[in-house]
Amino acid sequence: MGYQTTAEKINAIFSDLSKDYLIYAPKRFVGDGTFTYIDTIRYGEITDLAEIEFAEKSNYSFKEVLLPISETLFYFTENEMKEADAPKKGAIVFLRSCDLHGLKRMDTIYLENGGVDTYYKRLRDHTKFILMGCENSFENCFCVSMGTQTSEDYDAYLKVDGDNVLVDSRWDYLDAALAGATQAPVIADSVTANDTVVTIPETVPQTLFDDPFWEEYGNRCIACGRCNFVCPTCTCFTMQDIFYTDNGKAGERRRVWASCHVDGYTDMAGGHAFRNDKGQRMRFKVLHKVNDYKRRFGTHMCIGCGRCDDVCPEYISFANCINRLNTLVNDTVKEEN
């Protein structure tokens, strides 16, 4: 149901909701960016609509709400294990259409591939998603190429329009809370074109895995992993055991974000590692995003948010890489015929 209401009303609803939910949205953190004079926009708790950064794309995605950067799995003593408690409150997350598609990619890994992940599910089951529209495409976005520019899978859509707030609700609680508000048809803002357009090669022959094409990336990439950390569809982790120094026998096992670009990702006992070359790591990531994942699950993993391009300190463009790869694949096919 669509409504026209006021910021005041929405903030009052948030205040009621805050008994049961933490509300997360992109916020501006001044002077906190890659360089001290640049702001970052990342997720944080909010209590007021005015705190939300609607005008720009967030540098980091919402994924940390469902997949915390570091998450305690269980506590142990020598002979006992105890599952870490779930947060007492649920979560409400403001996010954009492409990110809602990213949520599905996370669901596929954490709820389907190989069974249900207890920790993800218990957060996911208590999270509501509020769509933020996009009036214009941001820099480096290529959602239209990935087909993620619109999404219907939201609990609510919310747009601040001057003194008015437009809401499309698919959540009983919100419908009840807005019962007195003016009803109005509300359609989510979405873009129909981006400056960045990518063409994805349908298949990339294995013979191109070792192509000199990747060397350039190997020379430039510094294996910092930022492209993975900002990506809403990168979901890898590593487990770590921590023990409390005052009692050597007790501790906890955590999982922390991992990156396929960073050294150590594939290390095995005996000192053997795969993909020592950074160009090969780029190949691994790119093909996972736009080839391997689709072959396994039917959709591309990448949702075209462009955050990896925004963040790379070496100005490596993932979108440009896909387009160049597409040319390389076409040229290779032509040569063979």
Binding site: F76, M81, G115, R255, F274, R295
Partner: protein
């Protein structure tokens, strides 16, 4: 009903420890669920972490884990096994399906610790030689000191054809020497069109052996391999084991060669 938390390990009792070498012991662990050769458990030590270890034998209410001492987790297992229990999660992975090999002539080639994940297959056909047309076990170890499962070899030799070789003999050793691949040409395999080859060992050994078996006339679809990769969760979540569109922990570690040959890291 909430689903069981797959990350929390269970306690298993160590019923026996068999010492093969200074750094390789078999731990016989209580476990009574379904399990196949080639599957693996995560041995999960609080404070130290986890290590995926193949099932090297299946008994009545027990599984064997043959562990090589190489680092943080495995050192601790060796030093503290007197504690007589270990935390485990699993079993994970697809494992070997004995049914795929029944009624066929079987050549199993293993290098070193690669014997662990296939030992259950050898045990089975050694106990039921009538279930196959013939079974040859070709195993290579680095040196006589690195030999595993010596007692089992005594039993196997009575029931199946066993060829054991070492790369580096010492003065007391009088058996076969050299790489396993040296012994492939002379093997008499009847009916190559449906003979089965199972190959497990270090990457280079697997590659050379597969090439030799193909050259000998084995069919690709009759060759089976087991892949080792970095693993963390064992349940398709952490991403570490992924190659192309394949998760080794879910779809493997055992692969038919027609699929396994396309796995490129």
């Amino acid at each position: 009903m909430t689903e069981l938390n797959p990350y929390i390990p269970f306690l298993s009792k160590i019923t026996e420890v068999i010492k093969h070498t200074e750094i390789e012991f078999t731990f016989r662990m209580t476990y009574s669920g379904d399990v196949k050769p080639g599957q693996f458990f995560e041995v999960s030590l609080p404070k130290f972490g986890e290590a995926p270890i193949s099932v090297s034998g299946i008994g009545d209410g027990t599984v064997d884990l043959t562990i090589r001492k190489v680092g943080k987790v495995t050192d601790e297992i060796f030093e503290n096994y007197v504690g007589d229990t270990l935390f485990l999660r699993g079993p994970y992975g697809n494992g070997f399906d004995i049914a795929n090999y029944k009624g066929k002539e079987i050549l199993l080639v293993a290098g070193g610790t690669g014997l662990s994940p296939v030992k259950g297959i050898v045990d089975y056909f050694s106990a039921h030689p009538e279930d196959c047309k013939g079974f040859t076990l070709l195993v290579g170890f680095k040196s006589p000191k690195d030999m595993l499962f010596k007692k089992d070899f005594e039993i196997w030799k009575k029931n199946i054809n066993v060829i054991m070789t070492v790369d580096y003999p010492d003065e007391h050793y009088d058996g076969n020497c050299g790489l396993v691949t040296q012994y492939i040409p002379e093997l008499m395999i009847k009916g190559l069109t449906d003979a089965v080859g199972i190959v497990v060992g270090p990457p280079i050994m697997m590659k050379c052996t597969i090439n030799d078996l193909l050259a000998k006339g084995f069919k690709e679809e009759n060759l089976w391999i087991s892949q080792e990769r970095k693993m963390c969760c064992g349940i398709g979540k952490c991403g570490h084991c992924k190659i192309d569109d394949t998760y080794i922990c879910l779809d493997g570690p055992v692969f038919n060669y027609t699929k396994g040959k396309f796995l490129k890291d």
